[in-house]
Symmetry: C2
Subunit: 174 residues, 2 copies
């Protein structure tokens, strides 16, 4: 793409698997490939949702979480931790969705400090539309390109990583 000199195999961001070369460090190459492909993938998903449904990927995920939550509502803090967002970012994001009528806010019954975000009917409708679009793209860009055995490995690895990351977040539990 950029230069044609052969020594560029060293260039870490190069996507291609390095052909004629000692196996090098497979895990590190894997990390790199993972990191790069992820950036491309998220960029793609983001653009599609924006042009096709006027939603950021984050908006989509927020609506997804609310859709799946029993009662269609979640506390701000739950949203924050599920989305790995700062509290103020969630506040802002919910506000913008509220302006568009896709979400409502209400005080939390059990806790006077709390706020809940509730998905509206309009929100559900838009989510349904966006969901079709998004799911199709995930299928094309990801699922169609991964076989069953690979998917099992991915599931195993990333579940493990996810759990570990959550756990060593609050190790001083007891």
């Amino acid at each position: 793409m950029t230069s044609s000199s052969a020594e560029n195999d060293t260039t870490a961001w190069s996507r291609a698997a390095v052909p004629g070369r000692p196996p090098a460090d497979v895990p590190r190459q894997a990390w790199r490939a993972y990191f790069e492909a992820t950036a491309l993938l998220q960029d793609r998903l983001e653009r599609t949702l924006r042009s096709g449904a006027e939603l950021h990927l984050a908006d989509y995920n927020l609506l997804l979480l609310l859709t799946e939550a029993p009662g269609g509502h979640l506390r701000m803090g739950e949203l924050a931790s599920l989305m790995v967002f700062s509290p103020s970012r969630v506040t802002y994001q919910v506000k913008t969705l509220e302006k568009r009528g896709l979400v409502e806010r209400r005080a939390c019954p059990e806790d006077g400090r709390g706020q809940e975000a509730v998905i509206t009917d309009a929100g559900r409708r838009l989510f349904r539309r966006a969901s079709a679009l998004h799911a199709r793209q995930v299928q094309e860009l990801f699922l169609d390109r991964v076989d069953e055995a690979e998917a099992e490995t991915l599931l195993r690895v990333f579940s493990r990583l996810g759990c570990a990351l959550e756990d060593d977040e609050q190790p001083p539990a007891g």
Copy 2:
């Protein structure tokens, strides 16, 4: 973590493999796990670099690219495409690094329109420090938790995905 009620298995973003429930769609679960773990991971890496080296993950990657580039310099456009950033974002980012003396800019010799970003000695020094920090964390959070066979699968899958994503970017080549 948040609630204790059992019905929360439905919550899609829940990291854990859903225990008492039909195997569901492994590939789709894999996608979800991948997506979630990635968010957690990036958040962690970002925080560490920021507190430990006053660098955003994006700053780090930019310096990494320049470090690896022959001559320590890259065109703005190359940076943009490698980092999957918009042109204006690259402009801004390079400017901030320039203010800190980590990078310099200069006109591109071959093309009067072009600009190059060049890493400075200070940039290399800071990168070296940050790199140690970052590499250690990648090791702990990712590499240590993936075995050799899994790494091979990850490398294969994400290389494939990355190539595919790059390719169907410019399909109208000929």
